[in-house]
Symmetry: C2
Subunit: 302 residues, 2 copies
Amino acid sequence: MKRVLVTGASGFVGRQALSPLAERGFEIHAVSSQPRTPMPGVTWHQCDLLAADGIPELMQRVSPTHLLHLAWFASPGQFWTSTENLRWVRASVELVSEFAAAGGQRVVAAGTCAEYEVTGDDCDERVTPLRPATLYGTCKHALHLVLEKFAEGRFSAAWGRVFHLYGPHEYPERLVPSVICSVLNGEPALCTPGTQVRDFLHVADVAAGFVALLDSSITGSVNIASGAPVSIANVVQSIGRHMGAESLIHLGARALPTHEQPRLTANVSRLRDEVGWAPAMTLDAGLLHTIDWWRSTSRSRR
Amino acid sequence: MKRVLVTGASGFVGRQALSPLAERGFEIHAVSSQPRTPMPGVTWHQCDLLAADGIPELMQRVSPTHLLHLAWFASPGQFWTSTENLRWVRASVELVSEFAAAGGQRVVAAGTCAEYEVTGDDCDERVTPLRPATLYGTCKHALHLVLEKFAEGRFSAAWGRVFHLYGPHEYPERLVPSVICSVLNGEPALCTPGTQVRDFLHVADVAAGFVALLDSSITGSVNIASGAPVSIANVVQSIGRHMGAESLIHLGARALPTHEQPRLTANVSRLRDEVGWAPAMTLDAGLLHTIDWWRSTSRSRR
């Protein structure tokens, strides 16, 4: 029996993890700080992971064999430097500690490409130095160090590093939604020159990658990414093309943010060859799906 | 006005920090989980740092300008791998977070030589890789990463890395006390060959080094050590000689523990040249002082 506790289960990635978990035969216990509408096959637990005593009670109630820890503070513009990162380090350390005490067997938690030193080469889990430039990246890195060492002799652990993702329920001020919503409103999308090269992966694939990693016995850090580098210009122009509104995409209308890295991409050989998983969606398919979702969402708001 | 909050103030290092803090003009607020006998110039706060709500209340009550964080789990034989290390990561992260929220200005916290990868060269804060082999070293390293990045733009922070220390109130099962106590009992001290080379510093000097670091504006990690490498054989033979009982020191009576590092020593140029501090006691003076302390303690127990 595989009984998984999913944190952040109502979040951007977590909500997409429930279907692939069900497909792989997990008994699903999903954590959210808010009351949730019941879903078939999912037991929801309302729990504030940042509150005292929430975590030990939750672990004793569920007694999971598996932990998929996706919850973190993610408010755009704030998450890089916020003190909330420290609260999530504390909660995450408590979570893995109580998971072990409850007899748990395997943990997968969400890391970030922001843990890597950006060298311009594809980030490789076995080679690229871990030298985070931000508090967010540092807190994730510190948690990974503690998780991996604590796991030794206690349980199996892996760490999925997320790169750039997009899809339904993303914060609307972020790149992909902001361009789509501008076009939906018939307004110009004012973009940077878009020369930055990134690894974009649809959030449903990110979640499915996490679930494949959880359902494997692979340990250590694994990039959860497409392995298909693309420029920001290419992404936003694709959105314009798919929406029949290329003229609304204004590349170069805004300056590049300072300290923006020219290239931040992923080596995905661990994910592909060791975990044996590859994304289901191309960038074009993922963007079309995302455009449809925003279109129906904005329509239902009218 | 310099108002310092000292955690672990009734512990091995902490109790020795109170006098040098007073000498440097700090208003001293000392934290202990147990009720303490009043001392002139020291305000004691009874607080379990691992309990919910203890830390925010303490910080609001004291509102310190300085934090000297020495508390951690230290039970011999257990501290390397214990889950308690995770509780201390959580408490320590909460401590620095609440310290910042209360307007604190400077933090010094205790790190360890166990954070370093042991290469055989003197451990150098600027050069030696940080690759802890143990959960204890990993948790300290993770805390340091979070502390240093969180401090940026918020407060000034330094991290004192402790090597091998000895002196009054050490756990009696540890090396120096166990040899002294064997000799005091007229029993042979059964030692390893003692070929391991270490950096030994009397705990009063360790504490004074921390206080000098706290009272400086130096940031980053600083080894708190003697800079005078010595073999374990030399240490235990010196104890025998000072106690007039060299024949009770049996080098080679026990095997070296597996994984024992042949050499673990400190470069102290940051401490000496940047902080401008050097130990007051030689090894011989420190051992004599320690022998006297154990002699009077064992006498008072009779």
